[in-house]
């Protein structure tokens, strides 16, 4: 018999995985976007979620953080049920979603001030963290630029800043490196590495295998809404490189001919 949801006392929270997805399911009409996904992100890991376009990565992550209500299943972060005790869970999570709006008529600094104060942080802390985040991410030169005028890469960076502002214990990042230039990507990697080294946990989705292979220590491969493989990087790779493992699992959609007219 299964036990009920464990009480999130401090001790349990320490031992529990950073994120657990338990039987998460979401259906849109006839399409099963996420199909009974079970996944465990160990505390202190840098977890990569890879899969082809439309695999259900964004849908699964949205349900994991409380933005999309699952049809079935639930998600726990450090033992706290995201849908049962959302207030506590949201304190632990820092989220960067993909392709959503922000209050577009604020500047980057204003957005961080807004979110910091909205979280009940005191003004000095918010100001200090805002300043350092803007400096580190190279956004402090855009004081007069509204978010709607930001480039795609700048949007990712300010999104990352909002995710980290309240010093969460788990970062949930949807395609954090997309459209980010190489220099900024290097900075972001360093920040994330440092975050994990100091005890934080990260789960990020991506379809760039090489990147995941370089920076993640755990991976899951997801396709058609199902988890095909999950575990430490070496377990999943099983002697091959990640791309080969991915293609073995997902299957190559090979039409054979290529594009003969493209010359």
């Amino acid at each position: 018999m299964h036990s009920a949801t464990p009480l999130p006392d401090e001790h349990a929270t320490e031992r529990a995985p950073a994120l657990e997805l338990i039987g998460l399911t979401k259906t849109f009409g006839p399409t099963v976007a996420v199909d009974h996904v079970n996944l465990t992100v160990p505390a202190g890991s840098f977890f990569g979620l890879v899969g082809p376009n439309g695999a259900g990565k964004t849908t699964a992550l949205s349900m994991a953080v409380g933005l999309l209500r699952p049809d079935a299943g639930t998600a726990r972060t450090f033992g706290v049920d995201v849908w049962g005790d959302p207030v506590r869970a949201k304190e632990l999570l820092g989220v960067l979603p993909d392709g959503l709006s922000v209050p577009e008529r604020l500047t980057g600094r204003e957005l961080l001030m807004y979110l910091g104060l909205l979280r009940g942080m005191d003004r000095e802390t918010v100001e200090a963290r805002t300043q350092s985040l803007l400096e580190v991410l190279g956004l402090d030169t855009a004081e007069r630029t509204l978010l709607i005028q930001y480039s795609a890469g700048m949007r990712k960076k300010i999104g990352l800043a909002t995710a980290m502002l309240h010093n969460p214990r788990l970062l949930v990042l949807d395609e954090p490196f997309e459209a980010v230039d190489p220099v900024s990507a290097y900075t972001v990697r360093k920040i994330l590495d440092q975050f994990v080294a100091s005890g934080g946990s990260v789960i990020m989705s991506s379809h760039v295998m090489a990147l995941v292979e370089q920076i993640c220590d755990h991976v899951a491969i997801i396709a058609s809404g199902r988890v095909l493989a999950t575990g430490s990087l070496d377990e999943v790779r099983n002697g091959r490189d990640l791309e080969a493992a991915f293609i073995d699992l997902v299957g190559l959609h090979d039409s054979g001919e290529g594009l003969p007219w493209l010359s």
């Binding site: 506590r88 204003e110 909205l118 949007r155």
Partner: protein, 643 residues
């Protein structure tokens, strides 16, 4: 060229099929009914000059409605020019293709039917005028639809600059003011319906209507009937040239639009994030700062404030043209009512940015309250200032307790109702970070805006009752007692409705986010994201649907123009009968008829509401039963049951 146009028409049809929902259907029915009414003008028993006059007036109105339709009706729906930004299509060809795509749709269809009155009218006058009528029908129709695209594009372009936005705000204010009090000015004409049917419009108006391009079609038919073929040809050729010029202009606009982004105005100066440093360093203070900045920097929101302000001002000023000063003190209240109506879609305007509120613990409550407070900080001083200034200017010292209490009561009522509507009935446009044209910010909100106008006005009733009682008993103290009453009702409504909205946002935030994210994106048929109301509606028998449509369709007639409007006029002691049935009756019947009309209106609203409520409850029951059935028979359960 033909291939492109055909493809775009097919795309347009496909997107519209996916977006074919309740409100659009409703307005289609209304549009078709009005079109048939326009056609019926042809069969009036009146002379040719009179008919030409009437048709000219009606078709001018149609052109206006069609031209402004996309601005009010969520122009972001369907095909947008930027979809083709990367395709090597010359602008004029794209313009022609997009015009083709714009021609298919419910509004243009109703328009074509209405403009067909030109052809029908022509054939009643002979074969030649009939042929001229067919050509005129098509040209006037093209002109109207093309104007609509141009207005939508031009307003979007104008809104990129502050001056342009101010001008657009003024235009809308003028339009709404004319719609609400313009009839004072044209009332003498309307009252002489008989004269209108025998003599047509006053000569000046008549020549104006024929001289404008919107009247060239009807002039062409009329001239053909007189045998003045030169005039006919000139009028039709004029339309063709005008259409060609507008088409070229629109093509140019499309090129510019493809290159620009909807950024609005850049920031001028000021210390970074100053407002966040000035307001209290609390969650509520943060939301207020975010909202105030959005109100001043988001072109659409800034436009809404200006529309409310201009409408209020012009509603007071236009009647001055006929020497009527009594509306002046009410300018502030009109600003509040309009301000509430234009702010009832706030969550949809901010689109998927809601995710940040959802992921911040306890933020839903602060967000709702902060939006209310920011709205009050914005519209409160504006409305109270207008009330004080214009009441003083009007010299109507009797009006002070009345207008002060009405303004205060509606301020609170609107602050409550707007968040309630914003959370419960969002109508999203294009998601903020994808917007190119500020005019695409909102979905179609006509129904919500009308409901807000009515409900916000209604929140003034308790204060109004106290003032009227005071006036009747000639007690100044009682009249002034309305001010605390207004503060009380306003405060209660703002607090209570805000609380209801916050509760709902907290409970169903993810669902609201899904709705906002889908936004103007049409959904594929069969997607199970249809709301319970939509499914309940589909399950209703046709007879009940007809009852619901009819009741909602006509309820406003007894409620507003035949009930509340004469009520206000009678209370204010104005001697204006207009088309208010009750005011034509002997004095002793007036009150019963007015109250009866209001009661009838309320009943007509209540009947379909009750039917829909019941239908939704039934649907929920069916859903639950279906879910239980599924649960009981799922393979996993069978396995577990076997253990």
């Amino acid at each position: 060229m033909a291939v492109l146009t055909r493809t775009l028409i097919r795309m347009s049809l496909a997107t519209q099929r996916h977006g074919w929902r309740g409100a659009i259907r409703f307005w289609t029915v209304v549009g078709l009914a009005l079109a048939i009414g326009t056609l019926a003008l042809v069969s009036l028993d009146a002379g040719r000059a009179v008919k030409t006059d009437l048709l000219g007036g009606a078709l001018t109105a149609w052109t206006l409605v069609l031209a402004l339709g996309p601005v009010f009706g969520g122009g972001g729906r369907g095909i947008r020019p930027e979809h083709f930004a990367l395709l090597p299509i010359p602008p004029r060809r794209l313009a022609i293709g997009l015009l083709g795509a714009a021609l298919v749709g419910a509004g243009p269809l109703a328009g074509l039917l209405a403009f067909a009155s030109l052809a029908v009218y022509g054939f009643t006058l002979g074969a030649g005028p009939g042929l001229a009528g067919i050509v005129a029908t098509l040209l006037q129709w093209l002109l109207a639809v093309l104007l609509a695209r141009l207005v939508h594009g031009l307003m979007g372009a104008a809104m990129q600059t502050r001056l342009g936005m101010e001008l657009v705000g003024f235009q809308f204010g003028l339009l709404f003011a004319l719609l609400s009090v313009g009839w004072f000015v044209i009332q003498p004409v309307v009252l002489q319906t008989h004269q209108l049917l025998t003599e047509g419009w006053p000569p000046l108006l008549s020549s104006l209507l024929r001289a404008l391009p919107t009247g060239w079609g009807v002039s062409a038919v009329d001239a053909a009937a007189r045998g003045a073929w030169g005039v006919t040809l000139a009028a039709l050729a004029g339309l063709i040239v005008l259409i060609a010029v507008l088409l070229a202009g629109w093509g140019e606009l499309l090129v510019q639009r493809a290159r620009s982004r909807s950024t609005g105005y850049t920031l001028r100066s000021g210390a970074p994030a100053r407002l966040f440093r000035r307001l209290p360093a609390t969650p509520l203070g943060a939301v207020i700062a975010k909202e105030l900045l959005s109100w001043s920097r988001d072109p659409w929101r800034a436009l809404e404030v200006r529309v409310a302000a201009w409408t209020g001002l012009l509603v007071g000023v236009i009647p001055l043209l006929i020497g009527w000063r009594d509306i002046l003190p009410f300018v502030g209240m009109v600003v509040v009512v309009m301000g509430g109506a234009v702010s009832a879609n706030l969550y949809a305007l901010d689109g998927s940015a809601l995710w940040q509120t959802l992921l911040t613990p306890g933020a839903a409550r602060h967000d709702v309250r902060g939006r209310q407070i920011a709205w009050l900080l914005l519209f409160g001083p504006l409305a109270l200032g207008a009330t004080v200034i214009f009441t003083a200017l009007s010299g109507a010292s009797w009006a002070w307790p009345l207008v002060l209490s009405l303004t205060l009561a509606t301020l609170g009522g609107a602050a409550g109702l707007m968040v309630y509507f914003a959370v419960n009935f969002p109508s999203p446009g294009v998601d903020p970070h994808l917007r190119r044209n500020p005019m695409d910010s909102s979905g179609e909100t006509t129904g919500e805006a009308f409901a807000m106008l009515f409900l916000v006005s209604l929140t003034a009733v308790p204060a109004l009752a106290v003032v009227l009682q005071g006036m009747a008993s000639e007690s100044a103290a009682l009249q002034w007692a309305a001010v605390p009453v207004a503060l009380l009702t306003g405060g209660l409504l703002a607090w209570g409705l805000g609380r209801v909205a916050a509760d709902r946002l907290e409970r169903t935030g993810p669902e609201l986010l899904s709705r906002l994210q889908k936004g103007a994106t049409p959904q594929a048929p069969g997607e199970r994201t249809v709301s319970v109301l939509d499914r309940a509606w589909k399950a209703l028998p046709a007879s009940k649907r007809l009852v619901v449509r009819l009741c909602y369709g006509i309820a406003w007639l007894p409620l507003f123009p035949q009930g509340l409007a004469p009520l206000v006029f009678k209370l204010a002691g104005l001697d204006v009968k207009s088309w208010f049935l009750a005011l034509y009756l002997p004095a002793e019947y007036q009150w019963p008829v007015i109250l009866g009309m209001i009661a009838l209106g309320v009943v007509l609203m209540a009947i379909p509401t009750a039917i829909l409520r019941q239908a939704v409850q039934d649907q929920r029951r069916r859903d639950r039963a279906a879910a239980e059935q599924q649960y009981r028979w799922s393979p996993e359960n069978l396995l577990e049951g076997g253990e």
